[in-house]
């Protein structure tokens, strides 16, 4: 029987109530509320919470501890290649004059091409220089404009901060004003209550005196 009415706050959650994760372990017998038991559960829950540890400063991702050794570089295995290269050069040495003759630029067309290429290179150098100059000038003017905009923006931010400060002070003043108004209203209300009570007392006194007067009159007349 008892188990049917014993519910955890989780059940309430199911019924549409807003319950956080933390409350779910409090079990309550709604038909027989036991405050001592609820308080024990609350205390146990608080005690079971992990104690907050002081936060350490964040460690950067590229941080490498000093104790980690540097990565090992694999040894080169090119000893055989150099030996073969040296052997081939030794064999070809007697044929070297013939090879040089075959390689020399003897054609006129080739000489013209080289000249054109030289001219093109010079033009390219000039254009590159001009581009650099233009870019530099553009950069200069952009920097100047950014500086002007930055100054204007800073000025506006300063003004906005001034406004916020003023609004903050104004809000504080309003709060203190409303606080004082409520206090004054309270005093007036108390005063009003006191005056009401006093008038009630006076009315009663008046009534009492009236009765007394009548009684005295009766006696005097008798």
């Amino acid at each position: 029987m008892k188990s049917s009415v014993k519910e955890s706050l989780m059940d309430e959650d199911k019924k549409g109530e807003k319950t956080s994760e933390e409350e779910r372990d409090i079990i309550i017998d709604y038909e027989n509320i036991d405050v001592a038991d609820i308080m024990d559960q609350i205390k146990k829950k608080i005690a079971a919470r992990p104690k907050k540890e002081p936060e350490l400063p964040p460690v950067e991702s590229n941080y490498v501890p000093y104790s980690v050794p540097p990565p090992e570089i694999p040894p080169e295995s090119s000893g055989g290649r150099t030996k073969i290269k040296a052997l081939l050069l030794k064999i070809m040495k007697p044929f070297s004059p013939l090879i040089r003759l075959l390689v020399l630029p003897v054609s006129h067309e080739l000489a013209e091409t080289v000249k054109t290429l030289d001219l093109t290179n010079k033009k390219l150098d000039y254009l590159t220089e001009k581009l650099h100059h233009d870019l530099f000038q553009l950069n200069e003017s952009l920097n100047k404009r950014i500086e002007v905009i930055d100054k204007a923006a800073n000025k506006r931010i300063d003004l906005a901060f001034d406004d916020i400060g003023r609004i903050k002070e104004y809000t504080k003043l309003l709060h203190s004003l409303s606080h004082n108004v409520v206090v004054e209203m309270t005093k007036l209300k108390i005063e009003e209550e006191n005056l009401k009570i006093r008038s009630r007392i006076l009315e009663k006194d008046f009534e009492f005196l009236g009765q007394r007067e009548k009684a005295l009159e009766d006696r005097v007349l008798k």
């Binding site: 706050l9 309430e12 109530e17 807003k18 319950t19 956080s20 933390e22 409350e23 409090i26 309550i28 709604y30 038909e31 509320i33 036991d34 405050v35 001592a36 609820i38 308080m39 609350i42 205390k43 829950k45 608080i46 809000t171 504080k172 709060h175 606080h179 409520v182 206090v183 209203m185 309270t186 005093k187 209300k189 108390i190 006191n194 009570i197 006093r198 009630r200 007392i201 009663k204 009492f208």
Partner: protein, 392 residues
């Protein structure tokens, strides 16, 4: 039967705890006994300066006799003396001097008790810590009943009170915790003592929707009723509530009702409504999700009883033994000691309407069983009855 109620101040304008308690009890007991109130002319509880006219008065049909205060209290001197006796070794005379300083110093009241003790069957003294109770009980111990209204306060350990608590014929306690504390201090278990408290009247009709409209307040709010003061735990409440708001995803608001001695934090979720009429106060309470009671020291929290009478659960400060004890006995409120417990308890309360409803019902049951005027009147009658039987 003629019974005198002796209290430090008395009047319709006085809303202090023990004084209001005395007035309500007197007004309810006048149908059974021939009652007479003996009090001072004081209105201000800091200086006890004479305010009311001397002599006889009638307040709500109850005859009242007022006596002059010969020397108003000097708060600064009193504070110094109290700090001295609490922090240092001292003699019994120092404690008596402290009592004179605390006041309300009215020897004519004590003289009246001495001279007219034969005219009364019983003297019911309210508030153990004042001049009138100490010297009054010492004058007529054989006819004294004490309603101590004691809080967990270091003053209770003074030697003069240890002796005083052994002198009356009976005690009317406000709570089980108060009785335990006084028994512990003075070992007076042999004296007749009952946990009675005080009743409260709750209006049969409340106007929740009208209240919401009038003050533009939504449905989900916690309410605090009473003086907004550091001594009442309000600073801690603000702190805990704002941290709860940061931590929990909740739309709950905190509504404060009463006069304030504090600067209330400027926050959209804290609403201060000031002093409200009784009708608005009960409507505000009825419309809330729960009452929060952050006070560290309470002899009996009437507001908590009013909340239970209206089926509202309570979230109380566990450092106040009385509030914690009442929550446990009634099963109608959760309590907290520190931020974590505040947050968790509030989360549990807010997340379950079913729990709030069940606790509210428990509260109403507890109130009906212990704090309706019928129950309170019967308890007073039974105490006097027992004393009468003892005489025979």
């Amino acid at each position: 039967m003629k019974v005198a109620f002796v209290v430090q101040r008395y009047g319709l304008e006085i809303s202090g705890g023990a004084e209001l308690h005395c007035r309500w009890v007197t007004e309810h007991m006048k149908k059974y006994w021939d009652v007479q109130v003996l009090t001072t002319r004081a209105f201000d509880y800091i200086t006890w300066k004479d305010h009311y006219p001397k002599g006889d008065d009638i307040v709500n049909g109850v005859p009242v006799k007022r006596f002059s205060v010969t020397k108003p209290r000097n708060p600064e001197r009193f504070g110094r003396l109290q700090n001295h006796i609490l922090a240092n070794e001292h003699r019994l005379e120092d404690e008596l001097k402290w009592l004179d300083e605390e006041g309300p110093l009215s020897p004519s009241l004590i003289r009246y008790i001495q001279e007219h003790k034969g005219d009364f069957d019983y003297f019911i003294f309210f508030s153990y810590r004042y001049y009138h109770s100490y010297w009054g009980i010492n004058t007529v111990p054989e006819k004294s009943i004490l309603v101590p209204t004691a809080e967990k306060d270091p003053i209770v350990h003074l030697r003069i009170f240890k002796e005083l608590f052994r002198k009356p014929q009976a005690f009317v306690y406000n709570s089980v915790e108060e009785r335990e504390m006084i028994n512990r201090v003075s070992k007076n278990e042999h004296i007749l003592g009952k946990v009675v408290g005080v009743g409260t009247e709750v209006p049969s009709k409340v106007f929740v929707e009208e209240f919401r409209k009038k003050y533009d307040i939504g449905r989900d709010y916690l309410i605090y009723l009473g003086r907004i003061d550091e001594n009442k735990g309000c600073v801690e409440l603000f702190d805990f509530f704002l941290r709860f708001k940061e931590e929990a995803d909740s739309d709950i608001k905190l509504v404060l009702v009463g006069s304030t001695l504090l600067k209330i934090p400027s926050h959209p979720d804290i609403r201060y409504l000031g002093f409200l009429s009784e009708e608005d106060k009960f409507s505000a309470l009825a419309g809330s999700l729960a009452l929060v009671m952050p006070s560290f020291y309470e002899s009996l929290s009437m507001v908590t009883l009013e909340a239970w009478a209206q089926r509202k659960p309570v979230l109380a400060n566990a450092r106040c033994d009385v509030l914690k004890g009442q929550c446990l006995r009634s099963n109608a409120g959760l309590f907290y000691k520190g931020q974590d417990e505040f947050t968790e308890s509030l989360k549990v309360l807010l997340s379950s309407p079913k729990l709030r409803d069940a606790m509210g019902k428990n509260g109403e049951r507890y109130f009906n069983a212990n704090y309706t005027w019928e129950v309170i009147e019967n308890k007073y009658l039974s105490i006097v009855d027992q004393l009468e039987k003892r005489k025979k």
